[in-house]
């Protein structure tokens, strides 16, 4: 199926029924934090989690990044009660997931999109999930439409492409219209259009006041989506900061220069005391000189240039900067 006909994310006017005590008239649900405190988990000889501690806030997409094996998936599995931590706790809205009566109306999770009974249709896959939460078939059809699988709903899930499985997994997470969403590597197997679609979905979910935690091992996927970043390594949090801060720090004082005379420019700037790195065919990044000093040095040496601008780091650069010191990221 084409990605072009994917409907824009929309939510039903009436939220599905919730447990008593829910409040928050403006959002239709009570926004919730996810609080992970001091999680430790050992699998045989491997210390998968080693004092993992962070909080996921509502209203923003929180990126959860780190290399494979950093403990991202294990943390998410502990949050939804699949694995039991050796130490520490994970609470959703102050409550343990395992004590929730209809947990999917509080937390939606996409942990493994390939977890499907291949001979069952997508609609039936969602139907049993919905029924386990006391939800009906109508809600199933809503989320199928929401993720763009309405026309493929009665096909066997075994015949789905990886991208369609990701969408089905997202539909399952959205089924209970929960205030907290956990997505483990949701971009896997998606083509660029699919990635763009998920980014839009994540943004709108967060904008609706939900707490959204998205794990990825590729920083570029989270570019322009994540408002907050939790960087994990070796089972603990290495950094836990707002994305804007991170990028500002990584951009700090650097200048991007575009010139056709790259060699001469680098020589002139080095003489002026700058550290120069080639970042493209005609682009270099200059550190140690301000924009004005760079322009002065180039003019003095009569080197032509097309552009001198303050450098804005990509999320990936910020991540590299952040993790340069840590051996586990090599």
């Amino acid at each position: 199926m084409g990605w072009a006909d994917i409907p824009r994310t929309s939510y039903p006017k009436t939220a599905p029924p919730r447990d008593a005590g829910a409040e928050g008239a403006t959002l239709g649900f009570r926004s919730m934090d996810v609080t992970v405190t001091g999680l430790r988990k050992r699998f045989g000889p491997t210390q998968a989690l080693d004092d993992m501690t962070f909080t996921v806030r509502p209203g923003v997409v929180t990126g959860f990044v780190g290399p494979n094996g950093a403990g991202k998936s294990t943390t998410m599995r502990i949050v939804v009660g699949l694995d039991r931590p050796d130490e520490g706790s994970a609470l959703v809205g102050g409550v343990a997931y395992t004590s929730m009566k209809r947990p999917l109306t509080h937390v939606g999770a996409l942990l493994d999109a390939s977890a499907l009974q291949p001979s069952r249709t997508a609609r039936n896959h969602l139907l049993w999930l919905a029924q386990s939460q006391g939800l009906g078939a109508r809600r199933v059809d809503e989320v199928l439409g929401q993720v763009g699988l309405a026309t493929a709903a009665r096909r066997r899930a075994g015949g789905y492409s990886l991208g369609m499985r990701q969408r089905l997994g997202l539909a399952a997470a959205l089924l209970g219209d929960p205030p907290v969403l956990l997505f483990d590597e949701p971009f896997n197997g998606l083509d660029p259009e699919g990635i763009a679609w998920i980014r839009g979905l994540l943004r709108s979910l967060a904008a609706g006041g939900r707490a959204v935690l998205v794990s990825s091992h590729l920083m570029s996927e989270l570019q322009d989506v994540a408002g907050h970043l939790i960087v994990a390594g070796r089972g603990r949090v290495v950094a836990d900061r707002a994305v804007d801060d991170l990028i500002a720090a990584a951009s700090d004082g650097r200048v991007t220069l575009r010139t056709t005379a790259r060699e001469e420019a680098m020589e002139a700037l080095a003489r002026a005391g700058a550290t120069v790195t080639v970042t493209g065919g005609d682009a270099v990044t200059v550190a140690g000189l301000s924009g004005a000093e760079t322009v002065a040095a180039l003019t003095a040496a009569a080197v032509p240039f097309a552009e001198v601008s303050a450098h804005r780091a990509t999320l990936e650069e910020a991540y590299m900067e952040l993790t340069r010191e840590s051996v586990e990221f090599r």
């Binding site: 939804v80 699949l82 694995d83 947990p103 009974q117 001979s119 999930l129 029924q131 386990s132």
Partner: protein, 491 residues
């Protein structure tokens, strides 16, 4: 629990393989059962051609043995007979250990005593008080009734106004009533003697069990015979006697004064499984259907592990135990329904096929028939739950299927296929889930009848519900263990 049941039912019905497996279980149970029934051919080639003897049916509707030596008078109204059993003697042909000679002896269930019987037809109603070879004085009536009544040798039967009273006495003076029941209408009253064949079971050198039933007879010496109110004319008959029977089995009576010496062979009692083909013969397919049931039960849970779906299931139901209970309810109900359909088709159709092939079907009460049919469905359903629990414990299809088959089917096959000694077979059918197959046994083992009560011939060591309870206990323990493990382990 209701949402979980709906959810698990949706899971079950939306996987074509599981639905197909459940249907296969029904078809296998019916198909294999009917094949077995169609293959049960009875042929009785004799001087009169292929004419099979008709098994007598008792007043209670069951097949009976009714062959004995009867020295009797007519009893039109009230009357009584009193005797002292002075002694039992007899002949046993070729008894163990060497089976090489005919010896004097009395088998444990040789019976001599007094009997009031409706008429000389086999299977007609009777009430008797008797002295047995080794089981003391007893009261027996209408073939299945049997009661121990001490050890007195003086016996009396009295009929007054349609009520029959049996008494015993140590000395002929003080009498204890040991039975009292209505027995109105014209009847016969007199002395009887019967001696069932001597049953021996031995282990074959190449496996299997060899049963032998060797002819015996008994002679009862009755003294102080006193009859009142009867016709006064003695007659002797071998009830159920056959022409051309061996001389030792032919009865005789000698009387001098008030002393009678009566010799007889045969037995008066329920027929057991020689009374005809048994009902459950039409349900042998259940053992094969069971394999499909086991596979479906196991896959219903292991498929979730294989596909990683168990994570979604447990995230939706973090209480976890409810998931397995709901699964057990769904797979148990589906299998029970399928088993009920299968058994309800296989039994009547199979009986029809067997009757067409000259077989008598050992008659059972409607209640027994219902128990066998519903029990077969329950047997399959509980096996499905056991298989499910094993699947949840092992989380691997192959290991769980093999374990379920080894637990349920293998003991059943080993025990009934006569490849291991009967004692081992009985032990297996007591301690393994295969004990549950006892619920299919339609003809009970009667303690008052010496017979080949071995699993190879369809006799289970535990009573129907007792055996079924053993199987249920296995399923319950396995399910409890599966729940504990499911709650304890990471998904």
């Amino acid at each position: 629990m209701i949402p979980l049941l709906r959810s698990e039912w949706t899971k079950f019905r939306t996987v074509r393989g599981w639905v197909a497996g459940s249907i296969a279980a029904v078809l296998l149970t019916v198909g294999v059962g009917l094949l077995g029934a169609a293959g049960t051919v009875r042929s009785c080639d004799g001087p009169q051609g292929d004419v099979c003897p008709v098994t007598p049916i008792g007043p209670g509707g069951q097949a009976v043995n009714d062959r004995f030596s009867y020295y009797h008078q007519a009893l039109p109204g009230d009357g009584s007979i009193t005797v002292r059993v002075a002694g039992l003697s007899g002949v046993i042909t070729y008894p163990p250990p060497d089976h090489d000679e005919i010896v004097a002896g009395v088998v444990p269930w040789a019976k001599v005593g007094l009997m009031v019987k409706r008429d000389l037809r086999q299977g007609s109603a009777y009430t008797a008080v008797m002295v047995t070879g080794e089981h003391g004085t007893r009261v027996q009536d209408d073939f299945v009734g049997d009661l121990a009544a001490g050890g007195d040798r003086w016996l009396r039967l009295t009929r007054t106004g349609g009520t029959l009273k049996g008494e015993s006495s140590p000395d002929g003076r003080s009498w204890d009533v040991i039975v009292e029941k209505p027995f109105p209408g014209p009847a016969l009253i007199g002395l009887f003697a019967a001696s069932p064949c001597d049953v021996t079971l031995s282990q074959g050198t190449l496996g299997g069990t060899i049963g032998a039933c060797r002819l015996t007879n008994v002679t009862g010496k009755f003294e102080d015979v006193a009859v009142e109110g009867a016709s006064g004319t003695w007659a002797h008959d071998d009830v159920g006697g056959e022409t051309g029977a061996p001389p030792l089995s032919v009865g005789s009576a000698r009387q001098w004064g008030s002393t009678v010496q009566l010799t007889g062979s045969g037995d008066v009692g329920p027929a057991g499984m020689e009374g005809g083909a048994v009902l459950e013969r039409t349900l042998t397919g259940a053992s094969i259907g069971l394999i499909a049931v086991i596979v479906v039960g196991v896959l219903y849970v292991t498929a979730e592990y294989r596909r990683g779906l168990i994570g979604a299931t447990l995230a939706a139901s973090p209480g976890r135990s409810g998931v397995l209970l709901a699964k057990a309810a769904v797979v148990g109900t589906v299998t029970f329904a399928g088993g009920l359909v299968a058994a309800a088709v296989a039994v009547p159709v199979g009986i029809r096929l067997m009757r067409d092939r000259n077989n008598d079907i050992a008659p059972v009460t409607a209640l027994t028939e219902v128990r066998v049919i519903v029990g077969t469905a329950a047997l399959l359903a509980v096996t499905a739950v056991l298989a499910l629990a094993l699947g949840a414990i092992f989380r691997r299809s192959a290991a769980a299927v093999i374990t379920a088959i080894v637990l349920v089917l293998l003991p059943q096959i080993l025990a009934t296929a006569s490849v291991i000694p009967s004692s081992a077979a009985e032990w297996l059918l007591r301690v393994t889930p295969a004990a549950g197959f006892a619920i299919q046994q339609s003809i009970p083992a009667y303690p008052q009848v010496e017979d080949y009560y071995i699993p190879a011939l369809g006799y289970y060591p535990l009573p129907p519900l007792g055996g079924f309870a053993v199987m249920c206990a296995y399923a319950a323990v396995a399910l409890a263990a599966a729940i504990v493990l499911l709650r304890r382990r990471d998904a």
